[in-house]
């Protein structure tokens, strides 16, 4: 088991956001986390990547419990978090952004990873020396993903990769995520508001409601679940 989360609780100050969350994910598996605004999806990712610390429960990666580890240690273990809103470094060049994604890798590895990232997102190739802030939204998302890939993730935590993107670009990016997962045997935890698209590419899914797992199962089954349809898929048959 790549990721196993058991009975996780986490709070912002006195307010508990996650109540007893248990999820797991395997290598080469895309797992989506669905839920409305404020359900605790982003918090969950932040707790996994060490930005927030859990108050109870355990998070383990390949059997090693990582609760309370510094973010840098978690990154070194191959858990890479691509945050909501992309958070690229706008004043740094595209190349510098990518290099920072491979902060712990040596020059040779970074060169290989960069070649791989640029073949995955050829659009970045021509813009390597441009400042990242000048890229379009879609390109910035590709950069954020590419920067994440530079860290050679075993587990990629993706927070709202479709946010603010045109449907066509979203589909393109989702396809790339799916391919990468299978090709690189990489686990992906995908947090999305766009439930329909997320369920299309994921193997399994969890529905988070008010900080609790309300439903879980194979994406196929979730898609046909009447409650999920009503709440997250716009009530139509998909």
């Amino acid at each position: 088991m790549l990721l196993k989360i058991d009975g996780l609780r986490s709070s912002y100050g006195p307010i508990e956001v996650l109540h007893d969350v248990s999820i797991d994910a395997n290598s080469a598996e895309v797992v989506s986390i669905l839920g409305s605004n404020g359900a605790g999806k982003s918090t969950l990712l932040k707790v996994i990547s060490g930005i927030l610390t859990p108050t109870k429960g355990s998070i383990s990666i390949e059997g090693i419990i990582i609760n309370g580890f510094e973010p840098s240690k978690i990154v070194k273990m191959g858990i890479i978090h691509v945050p909501e809103g992309r958070h690229i470094f706008p004043g740094l060049t595209v190349k510098e952004n990518l290099l920072l994604g491979g902060y712990f890798e040596n020059t040779e590895n970074n060169k290989k990873s960069m070649d791989f990232v640029l073949s995955t997102f050829p659009i970045l190739k021509d813009r390597l020396n441009e400042r990242a802030g000048m890229l379009s939204g879609g390109e910035q998302q590709m950069l954020a993903l590419g920067r994440g890939l530079m860290g050679k993730p075993k587990l990629l935590l993706l927070d709202e990769p479709s946010l603010g993107l045109a449907p066509k670009i979203t589909s393109e990016i989702f396809q790339i995520i799916l391919d990468l997962s299978k090709q690189k045997k990489m686990g992906v935890l995908l947090v999305e508001q766009n439930a329909k698209k997320a369920l299309e590419i994921s193997d399994r899914g969890y529905v988070l409601v008010n900080g609790k797992i309300a439903l879980s199962g194979r994406s196929k089954d979730l898609k046909s679940n009447p409650e999920v349809q009503k709440l997250y898929l716009g009530g139509k048959n998909v």
Binding site: I51, E70, F89, R131
Partner: protein, 285 residues
Amino acid sequence: MFSLFFRGLATGSIYSLTAVGIVLILSTTNVMNFAQGDMGMILAFIAFVLLMSKMPYIVAVIVIIIIGIILGYFLEKGIMSRIRKTSHIAMVMITLALTMIFEGIVGIFVQTPLLFPAAIPGPPVILKGVVMDRQDLLSLGAALFVVTTLFLALYRTKIGIASRSLAEDEYAAKLMGIPVKNIYIFIWSTSFGLAGLAGIMVAPRLSLEPTFMVVVQLKAFIAAVLGGMNSVVGAVIGGLLLGVIENFVSFYIPQIKDSFSLILVVIVLLFLPQGLFGKKETRRA
């Protein structure tokens, strides 16, 4: 004419050395460091004591830079890292407090201005009719060396690029696994090491007293504004430019000598808020 120009460059190099430290901290931590000049002052004072106890000059310089680095380490580790999350303005206030503490400490020991020995004593060098003071040549050389080294460090090394990323988005830097705490230590240490170098370069030209770096600090701010506040290269060019312009102004219009640099900063901020070399904050939404 050339002498005037050279002398201006030399004065400017002193502004540059302090401006670089200010910009380094400002552009990465967004803290306006008022203590940069006075950190140099107290380090120059320690250097004076070391030199008086017969320590070789070059050893004293190295020791001073190391002490600066250590003080930077303790400031970040002991104070700044603790209040960073709570209050940004408190960090700025602490640098202001440091200036008073440093001036107070040195004031206990130094009542009358001390004469700081020159690094390379001897008659000025005369090249094609231009009279060049040895100390001036040295500080100019030091400024150029520092800016080259810093530029390479900030743009060509991982830790340098990471330092720049911190100023842009600390959260994202953390997610990349960048050891943010260590980078802050690196920045403050480098900056205070530079303060020591600046202090030791300035002290022989002025005399050693608790407030001798105050004017330099002010001029360094102006140099940093000229250079756009976010680029070390800009700060150095800004400093040199300020030195040269100031020297010409004080020669031809001595009446406005003191107020000139302040007028200049108002003009620059009004018409060129990005400074002469600063990057424009253009970005797509």
